[in-house]
Subunit: 709 residues, 2 copies
Amino acid sequence: MHPNLLLTKKTVEIIRQEKDKYPLFHNTYQKIKNYIDSVIAEPMDVPVPKDAGGGYTHEKHKQNYNEMYYAGILYQITQDEKYAVFIRDMLNKYAELYPKIGQHPQSKIETPGRLFWQTLNENVWLVHTIQAYDCIYDWLSPQDREKYENNIFNPMCEYFMEHEEEFNRIHNHGTWMVTAVGMTGLVTQNDKYVQYSLYGTHLDGKGGFIKQLDLLFSPDGYYTEGPYYARYALWPFFIYAEALENNKPELKIYQYRDSILKKTLNALLQQTNTNGAFFPINDALKEKTWQSEELVIASNLIYYRYDKDDNLLSLVNEHGRVILSYAGLVVAKAIAKRESLPEFKWKSIKFSDGADGKQGGLAILRWGNNKEELSTLVFKYASHGLSHGHYDRLHFLYYDKGSEIIQDYGAARFLNIDQKFGGRYLPENKSYAMQTIAHNTIVADEKSHFDGKRSRAEKFHPEEYLFDISDANFQYVSAKEKNAYKGIELHRTLALVKSHQHDYPIIVDVFRVNSDTEHQYDLPYYFMGHIIDINFDYEAYDNQRVPLGKSNGYEHLWVTAKGKGNGVSSLTFLSDNNRFYTLLTTCDNSTDIYLTQIGANDKNYNLRNEQGIMFRKKAKNHLIVSVIEPHGEFNPTLEYTKNSYATISDIKVLYNDGNYTVIEIINEDKSGINLFIANNDPSKNKVHNINTGNAQYSWKGPIHLKYIN
Amino acid sequence: MHPNLLLTKKTVEIIRQEKDKYPLFHNTYQKIKNYIDSVIAEPMDVPVPKDAGGGYTHEKHKQNYNEMYYAGILYQITQDEKYAVFIRDMLNKYAELYPKIGQHPQSKIETPGRLFWQTLNENVWLVHTIQAYDCIYDWLSPQDREKYENNIFNPMCEYFMEHEEEFNRIHNHGTWMVTAVGMTGLVTQNDKYVQYSLYGTHLDGKGGFIKQLDLLFSPDGYYTEGPYYARYALWPFFIYAEALENNKPELKIYQYRDSILKKTLNALLQQTNTNGAFFPINDALKEKTWQSEELVIASNLIYYRYDKDDNLLSLVNEHGRVILSYAGLVVAKAIAKRESLPEFKWKSIKFSDGADGKQGGLAILRWGNNKEELSTLVFKYASHGLSHGHYDRLHFLYYDKGSEIIQDYGAARFLNIDQKFGGRYLPENKSYAMQTIAHNTIVADEKSHFDGKRSRAEKFHPEEYLFDISDANFQYVSAKEKNAYKGIELHRTLALVKSHQHDYPIIVDVFRVNSDTEHQYDLPYYFMGHIIDINFDYEAYDNQRVPLGKSNGYEHLWVTAKGKGNGVSSLTFLSDNNRFYTLLTTCDNSTDIYLTQIGANDKNYNLRNEQGIMFRKKAKNHLIVSVIEPHGEFNPTLEYTKNSYATISDIKVLYNDGNYTVIEIINEDKSGINLFIANNDPSKNKVHNINTGNAQYSWKGPIHLKYIN
């Protein structure tokens, strides 16, 4: 019985009756109908594959599958034959073209496609096209069906399955591939394909969709490649899950692994800034937000298949469009009934990484009750993240008042722009964006973590030491990394503190490094904003400029100035959100401070020219403490400026050894806070006592905050 | 009878009755009432003046006058004495402070203030405070009135008038000063003050408000300092005009000079990008938009006092607030009655400069029917623009799809940010932002126009040669500058061409330079976007960087690459509006091409690090033709890219001499356009004939466009 993937005979009938009742569904439907009607009026083109991403033939084949996909849905809803004719005509062209072409001329990888330079795009082509085929299956003649299956669908599936390693790979490329083959099996009643898709080409369950559900997400729903790829990976997961639910309800795929699909969507939605942009950890483009098509599909299906979570409705409403299936009708109806929708709720949360949930994680500390005032601190102590992973152990990001304040560079790539290396990852992605120095974490001896070797990086992960969000005004997370460098232990503790002393939450960053031998430790912060004030002496390299180093990403950083530590350095910058931020950092006079600009050794202008500050110190053991204080306001419209100076004036390390670290953060008016940290004992009730000679300290638990008034 | 400035006894009564009837007025009123109620609950501070702009005492005195101003209005509307008490208490503190203080300690200029570092802020203080005083005049005891007038208002006015030169100056500072004194005169029934304010300290009409109305605006309403300062200058013009209209209707101030006040507001509103940001010509901060308070006041008063122009209502609605006077009530009522408002209408328009309208001008060529598709080309051939003028003759700016594409740097200043030179203009404003090389126009021999001397620059202005916007799809403007360099004539023609050959309008830039002697001509374009592709060979200065030059702004530009002309250079960049732009420029192999980044010799990080491309050629006569083609789309949400390559592939100069220039712009598919320009004959009907030997051309009028299909 067709259709039998996302649309079914039964749900299509309901859609036909109710499609105009709910504005979101009606508008989406009308928009797509108008679009496809205009497409049908134009000449069709199924070009011989030639171009890489962004080029004409690449984009045209993408356009074609999208148009067939929508035309299929329209045929089912309207029962107007012109849509079926459109798909048939196009399939005829593909049935002629596909058998004739070999490997794509632009393929430079191990998994070359035929219509596209990589099989990945071809998988996506099939996922869409098979849905269109499903929609007109009953309308087609048996001869046509045979032609398409023999000339396109079956050979394409066989071609995919010949790439056995890719097919059985536990990776988003694998998910797309098994989804394409599995959905083809469901439509063509080829259960072998379905079984391969579920359990791998050897049917041993070591590859395939089920194993991917087992291994690609942590028990919390965290996707190891990070949110940018989670977004992309979600697409086939949800589409195929829905197709399986409609055909093999006995699999209970939505309930599988304690409802992992629901968890992973929720995890993904939490990994966003208030504009919906995904945290750009690992390879990620910053332009991507939850406005992506994948999120439309996922949010609609999850709302429909699970417990009608209100938190999803504001997102659906922001999308302004729905999936043209029964799930889309359900969300459109839910929204039509509401007078108002609650704002999406971002919260403090932690995600474990690894299939077993024991390979580090990602912590998000948040403060604020609404979008406008939300502060977000993201601490990454997850595992490497497969081929898109960066060497960024114990790295953090910070957002405030809607803006990136301490950034992750993301990936060096111009997606689909042909002139930029065919739209693929640029060489600078590896030479800069992946390297440790591109991240807000410590680099030892100018070498990236694990010496920039993925094989080593994938063997290890940091260990969570502490995580506590029970007090909204004092949240903290701490983790240790013992393998990034041989013989060096990294231990970072980050806290978000909202005290009565400051208007906004401050960030406290306590980074400890221990080693038996001397190393050079570099800690950069990539701050976003215009430099307003610097309190340390520096030599400006403003008449001649040279790169910071020769390799491991250092060659891509210009030194714009070099200064000397003076106890506590202070750098104030103005964000595009019109708030000031002051970064204060402990630095003795043997610390060198560098101001940098990204973009050296970049003859093709592939990098963004953003800036950083870096603290360099040679030592065995090292402690560097930073505080970021947001303050004041620059108001160009009403022409006033408030509190352009920070209130925090000093940071003192009162005590520091392997076991304990005691910090004092002091304001101009002498008030402040003490932070007592036990470095090796996470127990909540243990009482710690230390005697510095000058003073005695006593506190309970691994971290204690004390106000000095 | 009080109040008698913007509020009058009669209008206040209407406001009392109708204040809650119209949402915009009601909301503004409530917001201000809530604000002032919270202010009254806090301790009052009238500090001894100490800080420069952005510092505490500076900002506090600004806050104080604003609070008194609003409290006065609230007293009149609510008749609640607490507001009057608040003003009286604060005036008591000022009456004590003011007689004791001398010149402000931070004053480094010829017109030092006492409460503030410059008299300008003090004028603004008085303009606000005298309105508050007016509102509680009747409530105050005669003794208090005497105290305030003797201790504050009169000495302050006398102090201003002692700065006779400033008071009589035809300049926005002068306008603020005469307004402060004039309004004080109206409130204190001191007609002498009013007469001085209107006709200058010698009552000869050579200075004062009336002369300012005569001289500061061109007959079209263009304000010679440009829109950023027009915005600021408008404030006292409108406030004082309204106060005069209420007190001296016989002056017919709103009708004065063919309703110049209405014209100047309309001119100002047209000098904006679609986000309401004023064109940043001359000294200007880019953050300033028509959301400024001055525009709230001006738009409300103009709507009320003139012909209820619909075009103002969408702006008022966008403001979301109104002036709390009868004009505000009128606009709020007009909007409350509307179901929908028309979008603000930007149009192609030209403004003459100079009081006589004969000192060059500013041309704005626009294409597109709505905000989203609007293309805006701004050509500046105005006079110098007083002390805030830049050396930017024949400079242009280009906006498209909401974004700056070819920018003017604006001013180097962080307004009100104490750490940045006390919030004043930074040294880099003079050393870079004002210099010719900071603008998109030709620099000869690395020297700014008029050798960067204002006294010389103010003597001359460019001359308009052509301006025609009658055909929306082919608009052009042309002007000549003969005095910027001795012995060099600059002649630039700019056209906005929307042809069937391109999706969006293209910009054509024909820049001719004539001289009897050889010079080095530099033409920079400051493009906004990420470089996507460059078609000429260049040496990247990406491992070591040095400044472009040593003076006149050149010292602030890093050379990031240097290339050689190859016939027609092409540079493609991607704007933040996700559209591609390709700049094609004629350049023979004796042309050097520089890619630059702003920010060399900027040890205090005062400049923005934006980029440019510059064409350098040594010649006597020179012709440089550029075309900017907007094309395609980068869509990161839907993951597609369209037309990342330009369709224009070549520019040919078919003919060029002192009399005629013939250009051919050719597309990939061999279609294109010819542009025939007569360089010295603006007559519309003249038929021109030239014979190149190879070809004969004949056309009518100064410019003719011909399509090649």
